[in-house]
Amino acid sequence: MTPAGFDVAVIGGGLVGTAIGYGLVRRGLRVAILDEDDTAYRASRGNFALVWVQSKGLGMPRYAGWTQHSADIWASFAADLHARTGIDVAYSRPGGFTLALSEAELERRRAMLARLHAQPGMIPYPYEFVDRTRLEQVFPGLGPEVVGASYCPLDGHVNSLRLFRALHTGFAALGGCYLPGHKVETISGHSPGFSLATAGGPITADRIVLAAGIGNAQLGPMVGINAPVRPQRGQVIVTEKAAPFLTHPIVTLRQTDEGGIMIGDSLEEVGADTHTGLGVLATMAERAVRMFPALGRLNVVRTWAALRVMTPDGFPIYDQSVAAPGAFLCTCHSGVTLAAVHADELAAMIAGNGLPDTLAPFSGRRFDVPAAA
């Protein structure tokens, strides 16, 4: 397809952009996804692949509800992707654990989940604390220091690289136009619609969706949307493929359907730096081995660092421009968990009458007034 006028141009070809783009082509729109080149920062290539509910939303109950809803429709989303692309993204929802290696860790966890669920407007969801005796029945080979865990039956995981490929495959199969090498430089009004100057030439579209991850910080203001996102580094270790032994995902440790053990969940404020750091990797490895000593014998085959797209309060931004109607912005650091709702409700809103008031808590305007220290 030649780049010409599109109903919608989605800026960003990661999980967020392709989930929205997939949702839009499923609704019959003519959609372009404008992407950078092969070496772009790409959180979607580095994420941890959880579809996770249990700890989300402290400080914004609406986010907890949004997350829970996405997790609830994930199974049908996965089935739809499978039917359209033939790709099984290996979604499963066995419930997830957060293991504590000391009573102090367990206490902090208890207090955090209690605060989360005590928030006004919180839609409650089930969770419980599991003692060591019961944990041993779930996880053979548990390390002696594990004292207990929180458990939420709504948690699951997926093969996120296959999800990434399935979204691209589905998008292409439904006639979407994926344009790599089209980093967007400027956005200008094109009444009606928008003109985008890109590294690959000009693009015009009636509506645009900014889903450019960290790039949204620069692009948002071009359409009057405040998106103060920053990169936050996370590092991941993956081992060689092993026979199945972890039946549930743990927030920092999971076994993929292909057999590799992923270990993750570090947080570092180091700017746009995707180097790995041995000290952090060593800390992650040590905690994993304390949880499951047998893991110590597995070979590490890869490590990587990727950049979370983080807002000041850690919650997503969903916004639409007042100054340039038809411009939307979407940014989050849970592109896997939220993929289902992005492809479904969010895409419907963008294709239809815009974002409803129920999404107002996610507006970037919340960052216009400096937060109290």
Partner: protein, 479 residues
């Protein structure tokens, strides 16, 4: 040379760390140590020599005519290395290097971090991937592998042995097998016919080189005893009971087949760039040799301060040149660390530089003649490109066609090619060249896979044993 038993015996810091004990690594270590620098040499093999001089101090295959004079040229170098005041850690892997010159070293199941003031990577070459249908079948190996078995264990392949491919090493092994009384059954020569025309302008220089006479003699000797089928343009291997059936196509369109008990493939060697790439050294596409190589200056210095490359890891020039480049890198290290002045370095480098020029004579001819055909550097649809994750040429082409993948990093995310334990060593070139062909652009435009440590596996337990700071702990342990 002081041989260290394990990582516990390593000093916490060295002036110079050399990775690899082939000709470049040995020569670099000798040169650096000669100027009073403390030197560590880490290598994967039990004894020095690298691949070209593999087991030169230990082999029982001592008939000089068998492995040849070029092999035994490694003996005096290994002897000088043994006499040099350096620490060596054999049977070790260096799985990490960063721009602070911190090395992650693993041996005997334990890992340790070592800091150097200057690092010389002498990681050498590996055989270019040869992605044909069936190249993953047991009984299909590389020519280099067969040569390693011969040098280190005195093993020669028996039964119907078919050699397929192109390049000097293929002919050398054939001649070594002849001398061992185990002539190959057949050679399928994939040297593109057009290469002779492209190489012809470089022929006069080649004829003045040390390689010319012995190379031509060697080929003539092999051709007298071994059937050779030239101008092979297509190749495939299928399992046939316990044996293989090698099918081939000629440039003129005819085809044929040969049964084989062992198939040995080879189409030249390419730099082993994984550690340099993971350390952040900029890589560039060498179109003459159709491979990635680290950018280096005349002293082997890379784009990263205090990390140098020596030998074939910086671009293929052969074993003799590797030793010379090692010496130059050693001198550069001594100068960079203040042990000698730039004037002394330059004076001591004069003879090696002249030797390097001599070694370079004839290289252009060899590069042009033995540049493998483009069709042999890409994965055909029915061949596995990534052996670890079992990704085929068809998979890669489909992803370019249907998903508009432009480069190997997105390809890796979609298909997992390059994610296995070999870390792309067996597929990075193939994936880049296959994407390039499918897109109709050059591999330079396609780019290469991002490389990261660990470039060799270490256990999670070893990783867990490494030191960490308070900030590192805080980055993981959160409220």
């Amino acid at each position: 040379m002081r041989t260290l038993p394990d990582v516990a015996a390593l000093a916490p810091a060295y002036d110079v760390a050399v990775v690899g004990a082939g000709p470049a690594g040995m020569a670099a270590a000798i040169a650096a140590a000669a100027h009073g620098l403390s030197v560590l040499v880490a290598d994967e093999a039990p004894a020095p020599g690298g691949q070209i001089y593999r087991a030169v101090t230990t082999t029982r295959v001592r008939r000089r005519s068998l492995l040849g004079a070029d092999y035994w040229r490694g003996a005096p170098l290994a002897a000088a290395f043994a006499a040099a005041p350096v620490d060596t850690l054999p049977e070790a892997s260096v799985w990490h290097l960063d721009d602070a010159c911190v090395l992650g070293v693993s041996a005997q199941g334990a890992s340790r971090l070592v800091t150097a003031r200057h690092v010389i990577l002498a990681t050498g070459a590996l055989e270019r991937p040869f992605p044909v249908r069936g190249w993953t079948e047991p009984g299909v190996m590389t020519v280099g592998a067969a040569q390693i078995l011969l040098k280190s264990s005195g093993l020669v392949a028996t039964g119907r042995v078919v050699l397929a491919g192109t390049g000097p090493l293929l002919w050398l092994l054939a001649s070594q097998y002849l001398a061992s009384g185990a002539p190959p059954a057949l050679i399928l020569d994939t040297t593109p016919r057009a290469n002779w025309r492209l190489a012809a302008p470089h022929l006069p220089a080649f004829l003045c080189s040390p390689y010319a006479l012995k190379g031509l003699r060697l080929m003539a000797r092999v051709r007298r005893r071994v059937p050779v089928i030239s101008d092979v343009t297509g190749l495939g291997i299928d399992r046939d009971g316990a044996a293989q059936l090698v099918t081939y196509r000629h440039g003129d369109g005819r085809s044929g087949a040969a049964a084989a008990d062992i198939v040995l493939l080879h189409q030249g060697v390419v730099p082993n760039v994984n550690l340099a790439g993971a350390a952040g050294c900029a890589l560039e596409w060498n179109d003459t040799q159709a491979c990635w190589q680290p950018q280096t200056d005349a002293w082997g210095m890379t784009s990263v301060a205090h990390i140098a490359l020596a030998g074939d890891g910086a671009g293929i020039l052969g074993a003799e040149a590797a030793a010379v480049r090692g010496k130059l890198a050693g001198l550069a290290a001594a100068c960079a660390l203040g042990a000698i002045t730039p004037q002394t370095r330059d004076r001591l480098a004069a003879r090696p530089r002249a030797a390097l020029r001599r070694c370079g004579r004839g290289r252009a001819f060899l590069d042009a003649l033995y540049r493998p055909a483009g069709s042999m550097r890409v994965a055909p649809p029915d061949a596995i490109a990534c052996r670890c994750e079992e990704v085929t040429g068809a998979d890669i082409r489909a992803a370019v066609r249907d998903l508009h993948v432009t480069g190997p990093n997105q390809m890796k995310a979609f298909l997992r090619c390059g994610m296995g334990p070999c870390q792309g060593r067996m597929c990075a070139l193939t994936v880049a060249e296959t994407i390039a062909e499918a897109r109709g652009v050059s591999p330079a435009e396609v780019g290469t896979m991002r490389l990261r440590s660990p470039v060799k596996p270490l256990t999670l337990g070893e990783l867990a044993s490494l030191p960490r700071s308070e900030a590192d702990t805080k980055a993981v342990l959160r409220g």
